[in-house]
């Protein structure tokens, strides 16, 4: 427990771990990008165009335009979560790549931090590549969107860290099913991407405030529409604080798992 509060020893070498992951990814990035792009676009078409015919608008905004900002951040959430669960577990347990790295001057804290940075990069890429597509649909026209990459990076760091905490504990791949079906999917459906949470009983909103995705959706929608609201700073700060807590925790528990 005392170890937990000692600051992680993360230096510039974390970047070398990030580079390793980038090099491996660059070998098949085209296939990977197609996969990243396809799913959110499918959701956008199915819900926005299909369901959108029956829903005129939400608060004056066409339905497809209402869901677009949330789908972008959910794409980032999925990519970052996938990378730091299945991806990191493969490197840690199946391939033993972590073991190979920590007998060099790169330490385990830097390996964990490098994996978080890489997971965040994957999330960031997944969100950013959607922007031109959404712009082509005429769904993104606010000048505030130039700030959105900062949001994507922050929220991807947050979900990458969260996922790596899970990775520090799971005995095998099978256990990720719990994380995705009990944590990621409920957030996807109940973070105000598809409908305003105000339509549900107030306690749903209260619970949702304690989950991370809703804050990313709120900020993303504000940037996409230019409609700013009072809680914007709170949402941003919420994500910053939660990211710090999760990344610290992930690094500490990965260390505990690897160094006996």
């Amino acid at each position: 427990m005392r170890d937990f509060f000692r600051p992680p020893q993360v230096g510039r070498r974390a970047f070398k771990v990030w580079q390793r992951n980038r090099d491996a990814w660059l070998k098949f990035y085209k296939a990977s990008l197609v996969g990243n792009l396809a799913e959110p676009i499918l959701f956008l078409l199915a819900f926005g165009l299909g369901l959108g015919r029956f829903i005129r608008n939400v608060g004056g905004v066409p339905y497809i335009k209402f869901i677009a900002p949330g789908l972008v951040v959910s794409a980032a959430m999925n990519a970052a979560s996938f990378e730091c669960t299945f991806g990191s577990f493969t490197r840690m347990s199946t391939q033993k790549s972590y073991d190979a790295i920590i007998v060099t001057p790169v330490n385990i804290d830097e390996v964990a931090a490098g994996d978080i940075l890489w997971g965040a990069t994957k999330g960031f890429i997944s969100a950013v590549i959607m922007l031109p597509v959404l712009a082509a649909f005429g769904l993104m026209d606010s000048p505030w969107l130039v700030l959105s990459p900062i949001l994507y990076l922050l929220m991807s760091l947050m979900f990458a860290s969260m996922a790596l905490i899970v990775t520090a504990f799971v005995p095998s791949y099978d256990y990720y099913a719990y994380y995705f079906s009990l944590v990621i999917s409920p957030m996807f459906f109940f973070s105000g991407i598809f409908f305003p949470l105000s339509t549900l009983p107030p306690w749903v909103m209260k619970i949702a405030w304690f989950t991370p995705l809703i804050h990313a959706v709120n900020v993303s929608r504000a940037l996409a529409t230019g409609h700013f609201y009072g809680g914007l700073a709170v949402d941003t700060l919420w994500m910053v604080v939660f990211t710090l807590i999760c990344s610290w925790t992930a690094i500490k528990f990965i260390r505990r798992r690897l160094i006996k």
Binding site: S97, A100, I102, V103, T104, P105, I259, K260
Partner: protein
């Protein structure tokens, strides 16, 4: 520069109360190959892992390159090469990329890394495989690539955990040859092995460990002379017939052991043992020089360890 590359005093490791290494002392000299032998669970791998900073130390002191390990991990690891029991090459990368990416962890600039990687692949007879996927390499090739990777930082100390386990004789001999070349170049080596011939072949000095303690330390020859008495006579004896045989040896200087229906007689002078046992040797016998294997079994017993 210190004479001892590794110095361990009272080195201990407990895993949540279970003592895996119970306070051992040893030192490894420069350009020496030092072996750790012992049955499964003896504490060899735990000791190796402590040397690599991969497992935390519960007690005692450990100095490598004259520095206390704790607090100097980065400096020490920068000069160390590790070949773990299980290959952990990066399957996402090619042979050459494995070395280049690994070199980056040591802050070796790209051009220098490529130069070293090419010469190491050449040395390990892997140059024609440089663009191959890891999954397409044979066991021996993977092991040689692991060794090349452990040398990418021009390491002064190489740690080898069972370097040739699972390899065919040709592949083993090639690895041995490469390791001996490295030793000649002044690199220090620490290795564990289950193969006594490997230990005898490579190690200048070694320890036999069991249950977290060091039972014996010395050169292979010293250990054979001291614990196995130089020569062994293996004699089949009927059940209960050994006392008659041993009576015939009364007054001679020997050790013996019975395993199954074979009597093992260790002595410095096997010929005189056979002369005394002439009437028992009609059923055949084996007279051979003692080996490290005899030392090993003598010290750690013949019971199966699992």
């Amino acid at each position: 520069m210190p004479e001892n590359i590794i110095e361990a005093k009272g080195l201990r490791k407990e895993y949540s109360g279970y003592p895996a290494v119970k306070g051992i002392d040893f030192s490894v000299e420069r350009a020496e190959c030092f072996g750790f032998l012992g049955p499964n669970g003896a504490g060899k791998t735990t000791t190796m892992n402590m040397l690599q900073g991969y497992v935390t130390i519960t007690g005692g002191t450990l100095r490598i390159f004259g520095m206390e390990l704790r607090g100097n991990e980065r400096k020490i690891k920068a000069r160390m090469g590790v070949v773990p029991q299980e290959n952990n090459l990066d399957p996402d990368l090619s042979v050459m990329e494995n070395l280049r990416v690994y070199a980056r962890y040591f802050d070796i600039p790209k051009a220098e890394a490529m130069r070293r990687a090419a010469s190491l692949l050449e040395m390990m007879s892997l140059l024609d495989k440089k663009n191959e996927k890891i999954t397409r390499l044979s066991g021996g090739m993977k092991r040689r690539l692991m060794l090349a990777r452990a040398l990418i930082n021009d390491s002064d100390l190489i740690m080898l955990d069972e370097p040739t386990t699972g390899l065919d004789p040709q592949a083993r001999h090639l690895i041995w040859q490469k390791l001996k070349e490295q030793k000649r170049q002044g690199r220090t080596m620490a290795l564990t092995t289950h193969y006594m011939d490997e230990a005898a072949h490579l190690c200048d000095r070694l320890v036999v460990m069991d249950q977290g303690r060091i039972l014996a330390l010395g050169s292979p020859q010293e250990l054979v002379d001291k614990y196995a008495r130089g020569s062994v006579v293996e004699l089949p004896v009927p059940r209960g017939g050994e006392s008659e045989v041993l009576n015939a040896l009364a007054g001679a200087d020997y050790d013996y052991e019975i395993s199954g229906d074979t009597l093992f007689i260790n002595s410095a002078d096997g010929d005189s043992v056979i002369a005394r046992l002439a009437r028992f040797t009609k059923g055949g016998f084996v007279h051979r020089p003692a080996t490290l294997e005899d030392v090993f079994l003598k010290l750690t017993g013949r019971e199966l360890r699992e």
